[in-house]
């Protein structure tokens, strides 16, 4: 790996780690930070589920329980979903106070984009997997992501 790529990655890691671990509110004396922490956790869960899904996809493909065409479709749709979740995650993590009506509308809009990409990942990627066990395994990740999306139902 090139030194510049290494250092860029490290800087990203340090900045993100510092920002997250120092700025994330731990206190909830007035109770206002609880929804924000809940939202942040749900956004992290989406990211974590996609991460686990990618690793599972690789493992299934390596053991020939996923065809190259199926893996390609999943990869393309996962990339789209990851981008939508990333945009949503960034906005959620930028919240410092409970969202007002305008911010809620913005979040709902971003969330609907996430929902659409996850639905597409499911219908266009997961449901087309021929191996039943592989399909079942992938469906569990979709369920996890949908459970995380449901946490934001109070926004609507």
């Amino acid at each position: 790996m090139k030194p510049r790529a290494i250092s860029t990655g490290l800087m990203l890691l340090l900045v993100a780690a510092c920002l997250s671990l120092t700025a994330c509110p731990n206190g909830n004396s007035d109770g206002t930070t609880d929804p924000l922490r809940k939202y942040a956790k749900a956004a992290d869960n989406m990211a974590g589920a996609i991460n686990s899904m990618i690793k599972a996809k690789r493992s299934l493909a390596q053991s020939n329980r996923l065809t190259p065409a199926e893996e390609l479709r999943l990869t393309e749709k996962l990339l789209t979903a990851n981008t939508a979740v990333s945009t949503f995650n960034t906005r959620v993590k930028s919240l410092t106070v409970a969202p007002d009506a305008g911010t809620k509308a913005e979040l709902v809009n971003l969330l609907s984009n996430v929902t659409a990409t996850i639905n597409d990942l499911n219908t266009g990627g997961v449901l087309g997997i021929s191996n039943p066990e592989s399909k079942q395994k992938m469906t569990k990740f979709i369920d996890t992501i949908n459970a995380a999306i449901a946490v934001f139902s109070s926004l609507q």
Binding site: L10, L14, C18, D44, I54, E71, L72, T75
Partner: protein, 78 residues
Amino acid sequence: MDWMTIIVNLLPLVPAPGAGQATVLAQLALELIGRIKSQTGMTTEQIFERAGLTLEENKRMLLEDLERLQGSHNPPSS
């Protein structure tokens, strides 16, 4: 001002570091991760997730996979 704040404020000022500086930063990152692990009991994966790095890692892995798969699906023309 605490050390974390100092690091956060200094990092944007580092102009594309060379290999030597990258090594120093790598040691700093490893030390920081080690400290967070020992103080919080979190795993490296949990620290990355908490720091919002999972999505970046996801993107990197997916682009790697896409390159591999598109390469295998589109054999070089003769």
